[in-house]
Symmetry: C2
Subunit: 119 residues, 2 copies
Amino acid sequence: MDRELCCEPHPLDLEELERIRAEVDEEGLWEMAEVFKALGDPTRLKILKALSISPMCVCDLAHLTGLSVSAISHQLRLLRAMRLVKGEKIGRRVFYSLHDDHIAMMIKLGQQHIREERG
Amino acid sequence: MDRELCCEPHPLDLEELERIRAEVDEEGLWEMAEVFKALGDPTRLKILKALSISPMCVCDLAHLTGLSVSAISHQLRLLRAMRLVKGEKIGRRVFYSLHDDHIAMMIKLGQQHIREERG
DNA sequence: ATAATATTTGAGCAATGGCTCAAATTTTGT
DNA sequence: ACAAAATTTGAGCCATTGCTCAAATATTAT
């Protein structure tokens, strides 16, 4: 029969491979990749890290990052759509903060990884 | 003097903002973004998740993901360069595995985030 | 040696991404 | 009502990216 295995003799049998495929393809992987992708841009990571220290307005984030207000606003729109940040309008300003602290934890873990990778 | 603050009256003073900027711009942020970016692609995330279950060869990963061997190899090259995976050549096959388990932990935390985000 | 298998590599291509710029929107101050 | 300030939005542009395809490399089997 057609075993669909590329290379023989093979350490992983078909059932094992199928089990792994099912576990890997589980729902939520795509969504998880989206979250990681959001964290995977220096600008957005700076924004999130800044907001993890203190809520602040778009303009502050622009100064902080050295980018235009427009650029920041575009990124915030993305982050808002993904529920990573939330914005509260006060007067003519909008104060952004982290939507919850899962993200802060993930950033912390990421930092830890980098530190140990270097040390 | 030119206070370089966009919007007045302002809740965060200049020193506070400068302190945050320093903390955000710390060395390692760019590197951290690179790691997150690596996790931020469905194909690579599948590869890493599969390898977190069991080491396997390029061909298995291709079958598992439904992509070409070439595509997988290109991604593995990237992941190897970032020290996220390592490959051991055995015969004409190369068996890949996670370089360490930091990444596995980060994926686990990511999954947890998604789960709680939905629940 | 020759052929077959497993992987790597480079070029090229369509799609995506992050920014800028200009214009629209919303709110405050006079 | 009008101007100024803070943010949002859409279009456009260049760089990056993830794949395919073809060819090269390395190892095993005959």
